[in-house]
Symmetry: C2
Subunit: 217 residues, 2 copies
């Protein structure tokens, strides 16, 4: 099936959205937790959280156009902090439910039955069941002029990883943590580790370092 | 295991990079194909390709700082087009190998033994084995001032999806296409579809639409 720019233009908008949302591949599955200045909580599913750099430790994510109220955006502006929480296998239906349009005074932790957790020194709520929890401080934002989306950039303040899926060299095994991935806006996938490879160099093949790791861990 | 900002600062840089590269979760796995004005080919693995919008159909990806020559970046600037090619299960070692520092006059299609394909009307090379191939025209770029990364934005010109993994409503099943995901810089995962859910609405549970789809397809 080949779709040209002209074909895409004439597709029913739901079908076009489904195709284009899915064509980039598997995306990260996270819940972002925030509060406003009155400590009213918000939690929302995001499939766009991305690594931006290790030193400084930066993370980005994409917010859709601010043509309607975005509680996550407003809260981050008010209090400057947010939490990123990896969605585990057994929480995908609840995580999906956070994308419904709840009112400002409703906490998705309550409406979607997601257990929360607070850490000392951080005002934002975390998702208790998440095996990777990250605290970020708002750093800046970039307005994507082509369509009004906003990229939010945060600096990592803290990472909590469940012991069951991290090795001595601080490599995370997402299969062991039951991390999931998202396809488009509505599809959830489990992951299974095939391999971990050595740094690629010209004129020699990379080696697998996963087999050895599996045996010793 | 909890790592604070101060802990992170004092980790050996390899371990910090591994932790921070992995903590966002599973990332998309794509090969980006380009040519320069002399039609010298380049192919490189990227784990940052992201959906930005369906109408207009926009895709973004992150390039690391331009402190060294980036052939992908230079080629896109010269010829304005690039291809995005989903990495299938049986191509992950070859895809990883494209991250080695090959010279400008070496085509990764040759050095990494990846079969190429050209489509009529497009000057850029595609990866023959990829089950999702996208042609993009360069639209703009954003310089991430915090660390010198660059976000490239492209407009989709064409999408080719293998018939085996797309349904009538243009939903892509990444499990059927053998799409993989990437953890950090070195780890490859297969994916298995758990569920596809209806649009979330307040005060009613989303329903699974995957079971029905599996039976009829």
């Amino acid at each position: 099936m080949i779709y040209t720019e002209d074909n895409l233009k004439h597709l029913p908008s739901r079908n076009r959205a489904s195709l284009i949302n899915n064509c980039c591949g598997i995306r990260s599955a996270n819940l972002i937790g925030t509060v406003d200045t009155k400590l009213q909580e918000n939690l929302a599913v995001f499939n766009s959280v991305m690594h931006l750099g290790s030193d400084p430790a930066l993370i980005g994510f994409i917010l859709r156009p601010l043509t309607v109220k975005r509680h996550t955006y407003d809260n981050i502006h008010q209090t400057k902090f947010f939490s990123i929480n990896q969605i585990p296998r057994d929480l995908y239906t609840e995580a999906h439910q956070t994308s419904a349009k709840y009112k400002k005074n409703e906490s998705e932790f309550e409406t979607c039955a997601i257990e929360k957790e607070y850490f000392e020194n951080y005002t934002v709520p975390f998702v208790k069941k998440s095996k990777i929890k990250i605290a970020c401080r708002y750093e800046s934002e970039y307005n994507i002029k082509e369509n009004g989306c906003v990229m939010i950039i945060g600096k990592i303040q803290m990472i909590a990883v469940d012991d069951s899926g991290i090795s001595e060299d601080l490599w995370i095994n997402h299969e062991k943590l039951n991390s999931i991935g998202i396809g488009g806006l509505d599809t959830y996938y489990t992951v299974k580790c095939i391999d971990r490879l050595t740094y690629a160099q010209t004129h020699q093949d990379s080696k697998s370092i996963y087999g050895a790791q599996k045996t010793t861990s």
